[in-house]
């Protein structure tokens, strides 16, 4: 959640670049709504049936606190035509891209 907090904090930088940040997890709607309230500038997805994580194949089998399947942390950079321009998967579950890293990747995407 630190990662989402950092992205929310930098929302003005994303808006300047005409980028929306979509945050997706398998949280149920109630939990996702709380997250949305906490981070109003992000677009929070409640992928409770796992359809999105299965389509992107970012499933981390059994990695949830109750042994359920959850999303493995992954970040995709998608342009306005819906084309994927880059993707990032951290090596360890405790590491993430900083907001600065994300903005740098966005700038690289927009430069092309």
């Amino acid at each position: 959640m630190i990662e989402l907090g950092e992205l929310e904090k930098n929302h003005a930088e994303f808006e300047k670049r005409n980028v929306r940040v979509v945050a997706a997890s398998v949280d149920e709607q109630e939990m996702a709504r709380q997250t949305q309230q906490e981070f109003p500038h992000l677009v929070v997805v409640s992928d409770s049936e796992g359809k999105l994580i299965k389509a992107a194949e970012v499933v981390h089998p059994g990695a949830g606190p109750k042994g359920e399947d959850i999303a493995a942390p992954t970040t995709f950079f998608i342009d306005r035509q819906g084309t994927v321009r880059s993707l990032f998967r951290p090596r360890l579950v405790v590491t993430r891209l900083s907001a600065k890293d994300v903005l740098k990747a966005v700038d690289e995407m927009l430069a092309d």
Binding site: V22, V44, V45, A71, A72, R80, R85
Partner: protein, 142 residues
């Protein structure tokens, strides 16, 4: 009167206690620094934790070489177990599986249908439009 020259006192036998405490400090430093790192909202890989734990265990091992006591066996042993555990976590336990999915750079994001927190539908078509998207998958609210 002959002044008998005192033989120089033998150098104090170095007990290695310094290495014991240094080792303890090094082992504890890793988790302490990590706590500070997280409080500063930095999410970089904390490789210093296993490295400091290993140096700490080695330092304690050296103090054991100086003087073998039960305490030193115990603490050096625990420090070594801790260092081994942290290395295992960093290399295996906390590793994410490499991405091998269908999403490829240069191609459209795969077709999908899901919901937003607000309950509205969200699908592949919504990725096209007037904005670029950063799509972040996170592990969940827990």
């Amino acid at each position: 009167m002959n002044e008998s020259k005192q033989p120089p006192s033998p150098p104090p036998r170095y007990s290695g206690r310094t290495f014991l405490f240094l080792g303890l400090l090094l082992v504890i430093a890793g988790p302490v620094i990590y706590t500070v790192q997280v409080q500063n909202k930095s999410l970089m890989a904390p490789w210093y934790v296993p490295i400091l734990a290993t140096l700490g265990a080695l330092s304690m091992g050296w103090s054991l070489v100086q003087r073998r006591t039960i305490w030193r066996w115990g603490t050096a042993g625990l420090a070594s177990l801790f260092a081994a555990f942290v290395w295992l976590m960093m290399l295996v336990g906390m590793a994410t599986p490499p991405y091998q999915g269908p999403v490829t750079v240069g191609h459209a994001f795969p077709s999908f249908e899901t919901r937003l927190a607000s309950g509205e539908a969200f699908q592949q078509g919504d990725l096209k439009g007037d904005k670029n998207t950063v799509l972040v998958f996170y592990r969940g609210h827990w």
